[in-house]
Symmetry: D2
Subunit: 444 residues, 4 copies
Amino acid sequence: MVPRYARPEMTAIWSPESRYRIWFEIEALAAEAMGQLGTIPAEDARIIREKGQPRADAISAADIARIDEIERETRHDVIAFLTWMAEGIGDSARFMHQGMTSSDVLDTCLSVQLVRAADLLLADLDLLLAALRRRAEEHKFTPTVGRSHGIHAEPTTFGLKLAGHYAEFARCRARIVAARAEVATCAISGPVGTFASVDPKVEEFVAARLGLQVEPVSTQVIPRDRHAAFFCALAVTASAIERLATEVRHLQRSEVREAEEFFHPGQKGSSAMPHKRNPVLSENLTGLARVVRGYATPALENVALWHERDISHSSVERFVGPDATITLDFALARLTGMMDKLTVYPDRMVANLESLGGVVHSQKVLLALTQAGLSREGAYKAVQRAAMATWTKLAEPGGQSFRDNLLADEEVAGKLDAAALNAAIDPRRDFRHVDTIFARVFGG
Amino acid sequence: MVPRYARPEMTAIWSPESRYRIWFEIEALAAEAMGQLGTIPAEDARIIREKGQPRADAISAADIARIDEIERETRHDVIAFLTWMAEGIGDSARFMHQGMTSSDVLDTCLSVQLVRAADLLLADLDLLLAALRRRAEEHKFTPTVGRSHGIHAEPTTFGLKLAGHYAEFARCRARIVAARAEVATCAISGPVGTFASVDPKVEEFVAARLGLQVEPVSTQVIPRDRHAAFFCALAVTASAIERLATEVRHLQRSEVREAEEFFHPGQKGSSAMPHKRNPVLSENLTGLARVVRGYATPALENVALWHERDISHSSVERFVGPDATITLDFALARLTGMMDKLTVYPDRMVANLESLGGVVHSQKVLLALTQAGLSREGAYKAVQRAAMATWTKLAEPGGQSFRDNLLADEEVAGKLDAAALNAAIDPRRDFRHVDTIFARVFGG
Amino acid sequence: MVPRYARPEMTAIWSPESRYRIWFEIEALAAEAMGQLGTIPAEDARIIREKGQPRADAISAADIARIDEIERETRHDVIAFLTWMAEGIGDSARFMHQGMTSSDVLDTCLSVQLVRAADLLLADLDLLLAALRRRAEEHKFTPTVGRSHGIHAEPTTFGLKLAGHYAEFARCRARIVAARAEVATCAISGPVGTFASVDPKVEEFVAARLGLQVEPVSTQVIPRDRHAAFFCALAVTASAIERLATEVRHLQRSEVREAEEFFHPGQKGSSAMPHKRNPVLSENLTGLARVVRGYATPALENVALWHERDISHSSVERFVGPDATITLDFALARLTGMMDKLTVYPDRMVANLESLGGVVHSQKVLLALTQAGLSREGAYKAVQRAAMATWTKLAEPGGQSFRDNLLADEEVAGKLDAAALNAAIDPRRDFRHVDTIFARVFGG
Amino acid sequence: MVPRYARPEMTAIWSPESRYRIWFEIEALAAEAMGQLGTIPAEDARIIREKGQPRADAISAADIARIDEIERETRHDVIAFLTWMAEGIGDSARFMHQGMTSSDVLDTCLSVQLVRAADLLLADLDLLLAALRRRAEEHKFTPTVGRSHGIHAEPTTFGLKLAGHYAEFARCRARIVAARAEVATCAISGPVGTFASVDPKVEEFVAARLGLQVEPVSTQVIPRDRHAAFFCALAVTASAIERLATEVRHLQRSEVREAEEFFHPGQKGSSAMPHKRNPVLSENLTGLARVVRGYATPALENVALWHERDISHSSVERFVGPDATITLDFALARLTGMMDKLTVYPDRMVANLESLGGVVHSQKVLLALTQAGLSREGAYKAVQRAAMATWTKLAEPGGQSFRDNLLADEEVAGKLDAAALNAAIDPRRDFRHVDTIFARVFGG
């Protein structure tokens, strides 16, 4: 976790305090279930909650240091925690963790943390979607050039660009919802998952209270294909961030200048060059996307644990769990702010759209010519001829627009007069289905 | 694609013949839609289908060579195909591809291929699930030792092991179903996705006929977050394969020998050592899992295309599309056969289970002692003491079982007599919830 | 391997014919060494070579089918090959492979193949370096704008850009040389690498004849850290390709047009838009780079084989070995051709360089002002003020150049008069050290 | 960075204090060089050093908070640092950073940090190599079974196993040395690397003082292929760690028990099962290896920066730089301690070696039979027959050893009598070349 790329709410999920509180909640709920079942005395379950809850609520840095100290001796984190808890709860503490194994606590805790993290990410995505929708509607009919291969292709609108990103993030949201369900399970099933010493009803009780499902088969651990799928969903979302960030980086480059990240008063673009206004947010997001994406691979490697479990996944998750969720949360929020405040230059968009003399209308002329009876092959050659003449000579003396080059071409002129050509390249044709697309994306 | 790891049905999906047939189907359907809408003459649409269909159906290696030849001149694959089609269809061919762009054909074709591939993978998974269920039920109560960290933990059953893998592959199946839906979209929206020269109704018509959804916003291409999610789902499935393969590799190792891959008559395990019977299938599956998993990263890197599209994803998909699906199909089939014929040695399972003198019952003794009034800490120390004595001295003269060591321990004996100890470690306790777990996995 | 991205010489290294010839060479050399040592009769070693060599030289598709047939029975590739060889060699064949294990043949063969592949890659790099050097010298003083963050920064030369890429590929060449040495080892050490049944002198003999080093400790297999390092070197090279490809893609984009991939007569940029000339080669290279890079991860996962070896690496290498080398070979050759024929537009470079009214000289003015006594902070603000005024208003009525804005600024004008300002932004300053850099890269 | 997996010395390299001290050193050296060259007044350079050095030496948390505060306004880290420095240095500070760009400081600082990190890793590797050598020599002739595919193959020694790992880590050491050289460069070349406003002699001066090479062509940044190669070298080393960790995990598993991680007094293996002694260190190392390996991919993706640079690499490096080096440092130290204290059980090794009735000698019998005149094919079948009989029936009544089964086989007995068989399987044959291998690895 890099503090610079971390926000407090997500970070708090992964703090020791938070973890120990969840551990206590799991242990206390399990004790309550066992108390109801008569596995342990109900009175002791009550005392565990009563004395343990304030201890968990008020856990301090000193307490954590004490737990760490016990862990240094026992070399076992859950035992260290239970020992510390027992120091406050007293004799009833011996009924905590009855028939359970550490992973019952650790894995269920991880589920709770990942579910909370997913909820924050979903909230982040809602804000991002709202910002994208607002900007998309604002620029629904702002003309701009669509580019394939970085080359001007045909007109589109800036709103359509944003609608596409909106749709992509809406899919990411659905993936995070699915990923949340993947990891929202609880296991309280004992050392190899057989419930040999703990009743399955305990698991059901704890799961229900924590808003989780029971894990159908746990084997000391919750199976790691769930977590791998979770981190893959984050990786796809990170890649979607990179796509939008890359778009903004392109739009801001000096030769394009169709949009620009907000430049704060007092901000300095470069220590050397006072003239610089750089798309640093979107570049930063590009890097953060690499980071989050990179965590999918170790998460996938975590799946093939040995037999009922080995603990190799644990160290991986101490990195990947916090780092992937904290970084993605930060990135989504940064992207939202960036898109919210993005300065858009519609005039530059029009200027760029027109800068190649109208060749962006080549397909429409091609179609008009084939409709007028030219073979596809012949029409293609005629239009390519006029387009290349436009492109390569536009800035030179005698250079003329695509339209003029077409009208000067005998083969074209034999099929289309000026009026027919004008009709073919009428810009209103380009945007007549924008409403349809918006309706598909945003509804009705 | 490595022929050794490829099966014909999945391979066929990716053949040039198959691709060109899908291309024709898309073009012919689009022409039919345009014919209905009056964009092109209905008669020409009819001729395109009538003359083109037999050409597509009978496409030969010579035809493919001819298309390749045209591509070498035009350096454009779809134009090469259309030119070749036009050679057979004649004049009506100029109404093919009207207002469309190559990616309309290419991307919708890829959708069709990935959907077909997903269907094969789902069929593979169904066979695997059936095999796993059969073996799980066969060994529902076959006792074996559960191992955490590779160390004997507590008794479980071989059926429970398999039920866990069944549940994991059932989740993988659900993920492939979701992944199939991710990529099951159709785009016929023109050069930058604005439908400037093609009616959205054409897309709706083609999508419906191909069993696809329309892509809400395409930008010449179908957005690649869909494909990234698809290949991630494959990567998770590959990792699940690796987990089961790893289990079999462990079970077959010389010191364990609890299960063994079927050894064919005539098979040779080693060119040097005639005694060898190696788990080569499961090792092979481990490697194939690495391969399939490795394709997730380039697929994720494919998402951030420039502006409305660049073509960098295309070369990646020429590898990843066939290789990931063909390899996973092969791996699933190999795994199914392997599990179907796996030789299981219940006697060895029992022998291993008992080989540590009964220390696998340590938790149950721990619980009995705490129930009998010892502190958790005190009980832990007593049981650890007896277990370590058992473990380290079992094979030595005077070494004795865990049970005997416990009874010889004063602190333990003060709390539990032989009858109480026997009750605590009664093996029937271990499997009393197997039915519950099976019901969770396979239904009541 | 995707045929479209494969060249014959590299592909041939990985053909079955090639592999079986190398296997024979290893077996024949080992027999000759054993013949000299007296482990086997020298006469039989002679016969193995005499009868086996023509069989290996003339190996046909039918032979390969026969070997495959034997493998289907034995399920062991090396035994199948030896059996087929024995059919031609006769009785002496029983002295082949004496005391050896399959991996002695397989791993040493892989070493030979990877060394040959590395040699081709080095030759590819030499051609690329030559092309880059030629173009770098051609454009040593072609002015162009240097861009950080996609934003105009300061003037540089197109030759300097290329010199940087040259230096990067020179480093890649050194890495491939090192990677070649990593994998250039021979193991003939028997089932677990102890030389229990084969004399280490055999390994020394074979290694020397094949131009390899002996592997200090093999354990049936040559350790896979070597191969991982090899594929990592390829991955870095692929990333260097991506960097140059990305540069060309940027230079060709419509708003920049400073360079362009050669456009072949007859080439069609788009099926829909006849005006298109797309940077398809560099985009393709970007994708191929992702593919080659992706193979590093499974190669790294191959390192941790179990005990003296497991065979999980083998299936991975059947993909990664050919695919990574063939694809990288193709990509390097494509890049070389692309750079060789790249169309460069110096006029556009100058036009772009000047398009922002001279703000690219901001640092030099900043320095002149601090030298003239302004505080760094004060100078920065003054220059930023003039630059922003230039940038945002250049195209508007009354917009003026950076130089004019500076002279109109009281604080600046109080420190620098027109002559001093002209001296500060004299473009000759920018390129005075180009010779130094070229000497560093290409030598004095 | 996860504190649990971090050691102080490596962590300190990446602290803000450390970074700012290196920044100051670079700025002060550059100023001194400029003072010598007369670019700035020598007196000011002297003052920069004199007043700045104590400020850098004594940098406190409060100072860092002050720098952060300035950065929040300027949104530029280097400018914030320079502003803070200027607060202490006074007027001469305006001569700091003359003609330089932020990356001159940032990238050269990163080089210094990575070089220091590499030095610590090399020291770690030296300790690991020493431990491995000591244990290898201790167990040079400790017999143990070599296993391929997890199946008993032939005898080897535990010392040979360790010698192989020693050789692998010696290669890793060489790779880290090469990786250190990759990143040991200095760039002080200005905004686009042209030295337009800073003399190349400044770079030479600073590089020499810092023990770095000059970067032949920098383009504002030091090219990232260097860093990618660096992190790949770390990834290979991590994979080597995983291989040794996996070996130990296997050796400790309950059925093998040939070696065991040191179990501390007071250590608890499991919260549930007091009998557990788990190989938690080696499992942990397996996970840490995944983490370090995972950082290679984003480092490779960092190479293709746009034009002269974009800043997307920066956020990646804030994770990867500290996390990969700190985690690898921790892992190497943990591995060293683990190997140093590894409990080895030679008796169990012998017991396992003999547990399959001697079939591990099958190749030697195969060779003896072929030497005695049987065809390879015939000998293979005879030996396989006896081996399978041994293996499958050893534990049953009437089961007998491989030797006895061979002698009872008519075909074998016709070729080899008891004495000849004994000679063939004489265990002294197995280890006669151990000295040779040790000499190859450890020298003479």
